[in-house]
């Protein structure tokens, strides 16, 4: 199907099913119940799952296949967002051209940054990409945020190309030469795809459950599915095989008549374009672009997502992105009142004690939990969540798996 092997086609179908049914699957608890705060089926969070999924899928093409660890990929996320915003400001609110420009711009920057950074490998490559991302951040934060209109004019570039600290926003003065300057009600217009607004949604009430179907989520999900499909094709292509060969033995590749440089650069640019696409989608869901999107912590986050899920695997990055965004948004919402509510059945002293122990790991402390989980994965499950899944599956298969593992000992030990 679609030029894929059966195994890959099955995986794609499963991911398709899960993303399409996500509004149900992520909302298992009825409204108003004690567990309802674990529901993740609201548009804002679901959009983040798939958008960061795209970011991580792209990052994995570089890091998972070639082993080159970029610490500056958030630069492309930011570039994608700014590009989309300028498209919204200058031409109109349709997201398709905006995303196209996001991909093109981040691709161009990736050619430049990749060309320079790939002159080195290992830690020096990582440092170079980090330096580029921090320069991009500094440019967006201040240098490109100065008034480029001149003191007496109040035009489009009054706050520079990036809008500095407050970010790049839509205004009613924007030209939008191919669309409307303002919505019918005089407010700022909204990103849309041929008229269907990204923020529009429908609700379905079933008993105590409320499910929300948002246009923005479904659009992002379709984009992610396309991105995922392309990444499968890349993994199975001669190009993908060359990238794995680069990770495995560059010396042999050289003496086999192949030049590793253009292959790594192509992987770098493709992954930069994925990041730009994700950035453009962020701006399409919420028309705003700020420099913090390029900050080094954002670059580090995609590294965590990829490794947590399973670098070099197809589905790992998506799982990692989902897991981290879930923790960031759900764990961080739990406060001590909620904890007291859960443990109210315990005797008072014990209740306070249990809450005091758990408290550092929730709310603002969710990073602590993430750190612990990350350490555990790196130490015990080098293959990430995907390896965890494989181990569980093997356990359930029981006896048969035992026989398999005898022949599987010759299989990759990744």
């Amino acid at each position: 199907m679609l030029g894929l092997e059966k195994k890959d086609a099955t995986l794609l179908l499963i991911v398709f099913g899960l993303t399409m049914l996500a509004p149900f699957l992520l909302n298992p608890f009825p409204e108003g119940s004690a567990m309802a705060q674990f529901n993740a089926g609201y548009p804002d969070l679901m959009q983040r799952f798939v958008i960061f999924g795209i970011f991580a899928i792209g990052f994995n093409i570089l890091f998972g296949l070639t082993g080159y660890l970029s610490f500056g990929h958030a630069a492309f996320l930011g570039i994608g967002s700014y590009a989309a915003m300028w498209m919204f400001k200058l031409f109109g609110m349709n997201v398709i051209p905006a995303l196209a420009l996001s991909v093109v711009m981040s691709g161009l920057f990736a050619v430049l940054i990749g060309y320079v950074s790939l002159r080195r490998s290992g830690i020096y490559f990582s440092i170079l990409t980090l330096a580029f991302a921090m320069m991009s951040y500094a440019l967006a934060y201040s240098v490109l945020a100065t008034d480029m209109d001149g003191p007496d004019r109040q035009g489009l570039l009054q706050k520079g190309l990036t809008g500095g600290e407050t970010g790049l926003q839509l205004t009613l003065q924007d030209p939008r030469i191919l669309g409307q300057k303002a919505a019918e009600d005089g407010n700022l217009p909204v990103p849309n795809i041929f008229g269907l607004e990204m923020r529009s949604s429908a609700e379905l009430e079933l008993g105590n459950w409320v499910f929300t179907f948002s246009a923005g989520y479904y659009f992002s999900a379709v984009v992610m599915l396309i991105a995922f499909y392309l990444s499968i094709r890349i993994f199975r292509s001669p190009f993908g095989m060359m990238l794995r060969a680069i990770k495995s033995n560059q010396q042999r590749l050289n003496y086999t008549g192949l030049n590793p440089k253009p292959y790594t650069l192509a992987a770098f640019v493709i992954s930069g374009m994925y990041a730009g696409l994700a950035g453009g989608l962020m701006a399409s869901m919420d028309p705003l672009a700020g420099p913090e999107r390029m900050f080094w912590t954002a670059s580090g986050e995609v590294v965590l997502m990829t490794i947590l899920g399973g670098a070099g695997t197809l589905i790992g990055p998506v799982l990692g992105a989902g897991a981290i965004k879930y923790m960031e948004n759900i764990l961080s919402k739990i406060n001590s009142d909620i904890l007291h509510g859960w443990f109210a059945f315990l005797p008072d002293g014990l209740e306070d004690f249990v809450v005091a122990i758990i408290y550092p790991f929730i709310g603002k402390g969710w990073h602590l939990t993430l750190g612990l989980i990350f350490m555990a994965v790196v130490i015990f499950l080098p293959g990430g969540l995907v390896e965890a899944g494989q181990r569980v599956a093997r356990m359930f298969r029981g006896k048969k798996a035992e026989d398999d593992s005898k022949s599987a000992s010759t299989e990759p030990a990744e």
């Binding site: 894929l4 993908g240 095989m241 033995n249 010759t410």
Partner: protein, 251 residues
């Protein structure tokens, strides 16, 4: 003129003259062995042929063209394949994938971005790779993870990867170093078979006299970076200078 012409090549490492005025001519379709004691400069000479090192002076012509200043992948594309002293393969890949990479290199050159078509669909290249694996008796190992194989098998695989490119010149750097007797004999048989089946020139660096005398058409003895003599195996065996410089001490 030989397929490989090395003229007046010098190479210094700091104060050490690793190669001094090396002249060497390898004739097409012969097996040319380069022997010499440890530190004689054999690997250095080989590295000068494949672009890993650049000689300080002198010239290296392959098929009438200079290889100096070219990168290893360019030199490979000219028709020189190299087997390393310790087998260099793609350990994370399967045996079949290891074979497919040189097939692509030969068909598509140093770089081609084919990112969408599946490797699986390259039936023609797959047939080539499988035929080559069959030649070296490794077809049954095609789906194995190559890092998990024995050293002897890795060596066979590396040779198969070089041969599937159909090189004009195959360079071997001590291909039997560290091998058990049986593996060494297998390698000799394999190389003999290769010679019979196709037109290929082989330059081999070797320590093991048994290997050298059973394979070589010509032998060059290198000592302290300079060729001492070049002759047929029979003449080399009895040559007094060689006895003194090499055979005497290590045999």
């Amino acid at each position: 003129m030989g397929i490989l012409e090395v003229k007046d090549v010098n190479k210094r490492f700091g104060g050490l003259q690793a190669l001094g005025d090396v002249n060497l001519s390898v004739q097409e379709n012969t097996v040319h062995a380069i022997i010499g004691p440890n530190g004689a400069g054999k690997s250095t000479l080989l590295n000068c042929l494949v672009g890993k090192l650049i000689p300080d002076t002198g010239s290296v012509l392959f098929d009438g063209q200079s290889v100096l200043g070219r990168t290893p992948h360019e030199i490979n594309q000219m028709g020189i394949s190299r087997v390393f002293q310790t087998p260099e393969i793609f350990g994370d890949l399967t045996v079949m994938e290891n074979m497919m990479i040189p097939c692509f290199a030969r068909r598509d050159g140093a770089f081609r971005l084919h990112a969408i078509e599946a490797v699986e669909n390259e039936a023609e290249l797959r047939d080539q790779a499988e035929a080559m694996l069959d030649d070296v008796n490794m077809l049954d190992k095609r789906n194995m993870h190559s890092a998990s194989m024995s050293r002897g098998d890795k060596r066979r695989l590396e040779m198969a990867m070089c041969l599937v490119q159909n090189p004009k010149l195959l360079l071997l750097d001590e291909p039997t170093a560290g091998m058990a007797r049986a593996d060494t004999n297998n390698t000799i048989d394999l190389l003999k078979e290769i010679k019979e089946k196709r037109d290929i020139t082989i330059a081999i660096i070797e320590h093991d006299m048994h290997v050298v005398f059973s394979l070589a058409d010509r032998i060059t003895v290198l000592a302290q970076g300079t060729p001492l003599v070049e002759d047929t195996p029979e003449n080399i065996k009895g040559h007094p200078k060689v006895q003194e410089a090499y055979l005497g001490e290590s045999h």
